[in-house]
């Protein structure tokens, strides 16, 4: 008799959204974008068609499947957003990011200490990279809530390879857009804009580091950071800079927006760590988004459950100091 011992991160089979249902929904969307009922779809969801759509549908990456983790309901992922460029309330980005802010066409620049500086149209870039893949990742916000999101995109390592960093490049600096005329939060100046994030080069080339251009098999909605954003599932969500316009390779550690705003509260690394509290709240557990009124508090996992994959990156470092 074969006994199967579930891994500690695996959810019971009953908790998983039936995959056929999830795939079916994806296929329907795909058929829509192919042109069946195109006129109707264009009338109903113009934004979905205007955004970068190259490369869909993405192939699922079997290493990061949706079967081990239950994806959060799509409507929550697209209406509960921290995107301060479009307001600090989580309900605001869905509204304000879809009022005349254009994410197509979109150019992203590779710059700094590289042999191949370049500017790419996002769709061209996706083709050059060789298409998209889907990965289901945990997502943990620094505010102690979490989601599970099926991302579509490509490994950041492929983009780094395209840029060919010079030997003196040690960090990657990401810069988001700056358009106060269309971004109400930038107009208010609630943070220093443009939003900036950074990774160590070895973090950027780690297999988990991902550039997403879609969620749930469709192009990223504006409020989720269209047309392309960073996804580093072992770090707090604020590292996942949205709507990137510039990726720069540097010798010095970049100053990321939140760590400049409140250096004692947000660091450069921002690795998910249940043992290191935020100065104002505990990080030991998290609220599961979409679990209903009385459900869903769970223990936070070291590196958000990706300890095996990423722990080696931080060997010998004091994680309480390098928070």
């Amino acid at each position: 008799m074969h006994l199967r011992f579930p891994k500690d991160w695996a959810l019971p089979a009953a908790a998983v959204t039936p995959e056929p249902l999830y795939r079916l929904a994806q296929r329907r969307e795909f058929l829509k974008t192919l042109g069946i009922g195109l006129a109707g779809a264009a009338l109903l969801r113009p934004s979905a068609l205007l955004a970068a759509t190259a490369g869909f549908p993405a192939k699922g990456n079997p290493l990061y499947p949706g079967t081990a983790l239950k994806p959060t309901a799509e409507e929550y992922v697209t209406s509960f957003n921290n995107f301060y460029e479009f307001g600090t309330d989580k309900s605001e980005p869905k509204d304000y990011a879809n009022k005349g802010w254009k994410t197509d066409p979109w150019t992203v620049e590779l710059a700094g200490l590289v042999n191949q500086p370049a500017k790419f149209d996002v769709n061209e870039l996706v083709k050059k990279i060789g298409g998209l893949e889907e990965r289901v990742y945990r997502h943990r916000c620094v505010e102690a809530w979490s989601m599970v999101i099926p991302w579509d995109g490509f490994p950041l390592a492929k983009l780094v390879a395209l840029a060919e960093p010079k030997p003196e490049a040690k960090y990657v600096r990401f810069v988001s857009f700056n358009d106060p005329a269309h971004a109400v939060g930038q107009k208010e100046g609630n943070l220093d804009y443009p939003y900036v994030e950074g990774l160590r080069l070895d973090e950027a080339t780690h297999e988990l580091a991902f550039i997403a251009t879609g969620i749930y098999g469709k192009a990223l909605p504006n409020q989720n950071g269209a047309p392309l954003r960073l996804v580093t599932p072992w770090k707090y969500g604020f590292k996942g800079i949205k709507s990137i316009v510039r990726i720069e390779f540097t010798a010095a550690q970049p100053k990321n927006t939140w760590s400049v705003m409140a250096p004692d509260e947000y660091g450069f690394y921002a690795n998910v760590n249940p043992k290191v509290d935020h100065p104002r709240w505990s990080q030991a557990s998290e609220r599961v988004i979409g679990a209903g009124l009385l459900g869903g508090r769970q223990a936070t996992l070291m590196f958000n459950g990706y300890e095996k994959q990423v722990a080696a990156l931080y060997k010998g470092m004091d994680l309480a100091k390098n928070f």
Binding site: S79, Y84, K94, W145, L191, P279, W281, S282, R287, L293
Partner: protein, 211 residues
């Protein structure tokens, strides 16, 4: 008696005003199905009740300065009939807020944030709650008699400390400064400053004693 005065004197009217904000979350959580709320409905409830508690605390504290600044206003007088009711309602919302927090974050988180690694913003909130609890209990007539007017009044001045702690709690619960705090507690601060100025400059020493 004017209609606004009649309205403000009415217990039913004030009760209605106090109860309605408590029912408000039913709409986004159960009826409209707003996904921005549905993502974490209890968090919404928690923030809402905390917000109402702060508004009521600031409101009830504004009653006295309003009466001092407008001694002839019947409306200010009418409001001052409901000081106990509004104050106790503020405590009730603080209790709802704390209860929602315990369901949302859990006892383990509370113990951690109070005992293992104390967080000033949680301690401030608990401090404000404790004060409101004591004031609510001692708000019954028997306690007023037992403590005697002067001691009772001194004890209930702790409400100002509770308001300051609540404002701190509200500010430090957020990642960025919430402007909300300014329009909740700002008017109270202005009224209190005006009241102190008025009392200092009151020529009539009798009037000063009445304050």
């Amino acid at each position: 008696m004017s209609f606004p005065e009649k309205l403000l004197r009415s217990k039913v009217f004030i009760w209605t005003l106090l109860v309605l904000p408590g029912l408000w979350p039913v709409w986004p959580v159960f009826v409209s199905g707003n996904p921005s709320v549905g993502a974490d409905p209890l968090k919404y409830v928690l923030h809402h009740y905390g917000f109402v508690a702060c508004v009521l605390l600031a409101t009830v504290l504004a009653f006295t300065p309003l009466r001092v600044l407008f001694p002839k206003s019947k409306l200010a007088l009418a409001l001052n009939r409901h000081r106990r009711l509004v104050g106790v309602a503020g405590f009730a919302y603080a209790l709802l807020h704390l209860t929602a927090y315990l369901f949302h974050d859990g006892w383990a988180t509370l113990v951690h944030d109070v005992w293992a690694k104390p967080k000033t913003f949680i301690l401030a909130g608990l401090g404000a709650f404790t004060i409101l609890l004591v004031l609510a209990i001692t708000s019954v007539n028997a306690f007023v008699r037992w403590l005697g007017g002067k001691r009772w009044k001194n004890l209930h001045r702790l409400a100002y400390l509770a308001a300051a702690l609540a404002a701190y709690h509200q500010i430090y619960a957020r990642k960025l400064f919430p402007v909300q705090v300014l329009w909740i507690f700002g008017p109270l601060v202005v009224l209190e400053i005006l009241r102190v100025v008025r009392q200092r400059t009151a020529a009539n020493p009798e009037a000063r004693e009445k304050m």
